[in-house]
Symmetry: C2
Subunit: 162 residues, 2 copies
DNA sequence: TGACAATATCAGCCTAGGCAATTAATATGC
DNA sequence: GCATATTAATTGCCTAGGCTGATATTGTCA
């Protein structure tokens, strides 16, 4: 249960952090390419980031902008502008909440709902491609590892291994 | 060996891609925080991205800018500017190659070499913190999973699962 | 050798996220 | 009730990466 990396053998460029970043870059690039190549979705010029927002809204109906930010650790200012773009494309709608007028409730438009299944399908294809050769058990294990790393992130800098 | 995710159960926000992005964000933020908090390194105002470049140069001596770009899939234009910054901080040196005058050989300055061990130490601490509770076998397994995903990225869009 | 392709670096423009300050609305404490 | 704190959304400013084209240098091929 001790430290995983030690001072003599640790190679930053080959560590899990670097690998993670590179895999992420490749997955995002792959999804962007799919979104740009799809005949139906190409005109919308969607990015992977925008897909995540739409997927969040497609999941459980009505959310506020700040809910989204918390959910995907995204800057609030950047979120405002992303919502501007998605609204401009006619994929989402903003509604001031009557109960709490600070809030803006977000929902997919009909067009957003119509486009989502295809987006989800492309995303699924990319995920499966990157997991090619994995058994289902391995994939679940990987999910578990990443989840545990996220939980470890919560702990406020426990000053491990000075 | 079939697909990992299927159309009925796939939840984009909870898939490996999303998890990966979130873990990466947290790790980068943690490293940025460490770099900013360290008494010795704080004046250098280093970012996690800059650390990766320095780590690459600290590894095996002399590389060119394009070598770096290929190694970490980074834009060439962005690399030029990052090297400008690192040169401005006195951490690296540029040398036009005499053999091939298109190339710029890069190397750490004395100050760069002096600062690197501490940077590496902080990075190691962050990595170990995120892997808290992992056995060494699990960590190796995770490295293997990510490496396999990277290899899967190579295949030019095999049109899996249309 | 000479035309043309390829490569490395760099500079300009665009996009987009992070941060700080602002505004509006609500919650809290006295 | 009123002053203060808190929260949500927004805006402006800054930074930094991605893309395109320009320039210099080298490789290729006839």
């Amino acid at each position: 249960m001790g430290d995983i990396y030690d001072s003599t053998s640790y190679q930053p460029r080959k560590s899990i952090g670097s690998l993670l970043s590179r895999v992420r870059v490749e997955m995002l690039a792959a999804l962007d390419a799919e979104l740009a190549a799809d005949r139906r979705l190409a005109p919308l010029e969607l990015s992977a980031a925008q897909f995540i927002v739409i997927a969040s809204l497609a999941g459980d109906g009505r959310k506020s902008a700040s809910d989204l930010c918390k959910g995907i650790s995204y800057d609030a200012g950047a979120m405002t502008r992303m919502l501007d773009r998605l609204e401009g494309k006619g994929l989402i709608r903003r509604n001031r909440s009557p109960e709490d007028r600070r809030l803006v409730h977000l929902e997919l438009t009909e067009e957003g709902h119509a486009a989502y299944p295809r987006m989800r399908e492309l995303s699924l294809g990319v995920a499966n491609r990157f997991l090619h050769g994995f058994s289902k058990a391995e994939a679940r294990q990987l999910e578990g590892f990443l989840t545990r790393m996220l939980e470890n992130a919560e702990e406020p800098a426990a000053r491990a291994s000075a």
